[in-house]
């Protein structure tokens, strides 16, 4: 296997001077689906926020390499343009900005940053419609304001829609399964699975095992108290389902 697409080495990060990530080591190869599981407070959301580049997280040590680049040195929009996508646990409502405009603006901003030509409105619409159909989403989604008044499930599906439109090389799904009923979970999982290909890596961050029944991971990593406590294959997720996180909790 060549160099992993994502390599995290000894990553330490603090929030409000409290160390939350205490030396994370993890690598994910292109084509791989990696699941990061862990109990509440283990550092899952801090990890995803640090990877996305949100303010308020101080990296005190370690590094994150993505496709040979120093990910942590990049602005959030640079990370996006170079192919990193974050599906947020809590997608933001933006009243007044129409979903179609937003998605096309994002797509073309990324393309411009990569010196690619802009996608015109007609081609965009064609692709958007096909993607919506695949995700069993109404075309009305395009005309609505970004996430405004969306149900929890609609917000998550909108994240998957954006991911499908933006075609990232590394997608991080932060608790995408939370708040979804079984039908929505199935649709979201179908959308995620459709993204799997040998060029792309997916990192699925979750508390529960149930999304992994649909999106079968190649590797499973248990995050506990700011470190990867154990790594394994799909069997590890099933084991956690039986035993819970008790073994990984601080005594």
């Amino acid at each position: 296997m060549s160099e992993p697409l994502l390599t995290i080495r000894n990553l330490r990060a603090s929030v409000d001077d409290k160390e939350v990530l205490k030396g994370i080591d993890l690598s994910v190869a292109a084509g791989e689906v990696a699941a990061i599981m862990g109990p509440n407070g283990s550092g899952k959301s801090t990890l995803s926020n640090v990877l996305a580049g949100r303010d308020g997280y101080e990296v005190t040590d370690g590094e994150v390499r993505y496709d040979g680049q120093d990910l942590l040195a990049m602005e959030p929009e640079e990370r996006a343009a170079t192919g990193v996508f974050m599906a947020f646990q809590y997608p933001v409502e933006i009243p007044g900005v129409v979903n179609a405009t937003f998605t096309r603006t994002a797509l073309n901003a990324q393309r411009k940053a990569r010196d690619e030509s802009a996608i015109d409105a007609i081609d965009f619409l064609k692709r958007a419609r096909a993607t919506l159909a695949r995700l069993e989403m109404d075309e009305d989604f395009l005309r609505r304001d970004v996430n405004a008044g969306f149900s929890g499930g609609e917000k998550k599906r909108n994240e998957i829609f954006q991911m499908a439109m933006l075609e990232p090389r590394l997608a991080i799904l932060d608790e995408t399964d939370s708040g979804l009923d079984i039908d929505a979970l199935r649709i979201v999982a179908t959308g995620v699975n459709a993204m799997r290909n040998p060029e792309r890596a997916l990192v699925v961050i979750t508390h529960y095992q149930r999304l992994l029944e649909y999106v079968v991971p190649d590797s499973v990593h248990v995050l506990a108290d700011g470190r990867i406590a154990r790594s394994g294959d799909r069997e590890l997720a099933l084991e956690l389902e039986r035993t819970g996180y008790a073994a990984f909790q601080p005594a």
């Binding site: 996305a52 580049g53 949100r54 303010d55 602005e75 959030p76 929009e77 990370r79 996006a80 343009a81 974050m86 947020f88 997608p91 933001v92 933006i94 009243p95 007044g96 900005v97 937003f102 603006t105 994002a106 797509l107 901003a109 990324q110 940053a113 304001d145 954006q162 933006l166």
Partner: protein
Amino acid sequence: MTDAWLAGQRTAFAACRDTLPGSGTPWVDALRAEAFRQFEEDGPPTARIEEWRSGPTAALTGQVFAPAAPDGARAAAVPAPYLEGPRHRLVFVDGRFSRGHSDAGEPPKGVRLTTLGALLAENPQATRDLIGDPDAFSEERLSRVTDRRPQALVALNTALASDGAVLLIEDDVALAHPLEVVHVTRKTEEPRAHHLRTLIALGAGARAHVVEIHAGGSAGVWTNHVTDIAVGAGARLEHVRADAGSATAVHVNVAHARLRASAAYAGFVLAATNGAVRAETRLALEEPGADGEVNGVCLAKGTGHIDALTRLDHHAREGTSRQLWRGIFADTARGAFQGRIRVLPDASGTNAALDNRNLLLNAGARAESKPELEILTDDVACSHASATGELDTDALFYLRSRGLSEQLARALLMEAFTGAVADRIAHEGVREFIRRLVDERLHALGSATS
């Protein structure tokens, strides 16, 4: 400074009163003299007057502006028409009609489209009925609204008005295409004032869309613009006022409208400046079932100062009114919004709403919001909301995480913030023009900051 400022206005009035439109017509001379006396009695606006508490009084009285003399040369850079598609266009340069730049087109039968100067020259009596009664002068007559608080600048405007657009529409006649009125002021060596008076009167059931555009002045120019409006029973006027230039001057813009039964006035104000703007809108919903809408977008940067004031008086039953205002202030700019809804004892069944929100882009920017409800009867539904804050950091991060640059993300959020206001403009061509103008101004604002 106030004494010198008043003395300057006296000198100016003495110097130009004989050259103003209607001069030599006894009632006009008497009206102007009486108006000037009223102005002297009221004195220039100061922060001690409640309605001017947040007003640009320092910018206004900090220098003595002399009225611009009539100028035959009239060489001016006049912008191309703003509205696409068919329209009527009147252009005023330095406060006086410029025939060469105008294109009044052919208004339909029953529509009189002219200027204050022409109307006074041709039929002083008709104008008298529109403007006021010199024998029983009162500020109420002057502004043609039942609003008696001191309005010195309206009085000064009546004394010194050099010209303005006049639109008179007979009953049941619609002006199909919008009227575009453009005011251009030229660069000046010494401080100059331009006093403009627009008259709009719609008969019962008439329809019109009017856009008044100030194409921008230069430092040292004060425009004092008053628009008198009468909307007849069941008539509908859409009235848009906009600053389309980089005004570094002082701009005072006052609209007074009287609404008869089931009349509708839909107003929109765009104030965008790094200078000083005072925008007033006073509506009197005088008869049952009238509908007033006054919306605005205020954008200021640098040391800009925008003071927006609305007064909506519901006099009669079953009236409705809506106000939607959005302000964005950058650098050390200041914004103030005073919005009053007054429901008088006879106005049961009134439904009135006011919503003002402001965004501050920098720590040095400030915004004040002062909604006032004065309700003198039961059986009304009135609501008001106001909030001032910064751009939503979560939304900014969300947009950036999708690849939008910080600048683009900010611009998109600011567009969303103001877009809902511009969307309320009914005439499609006017709405598109205003949206473009707002976007342009937002870009200027975005590049001024961060």
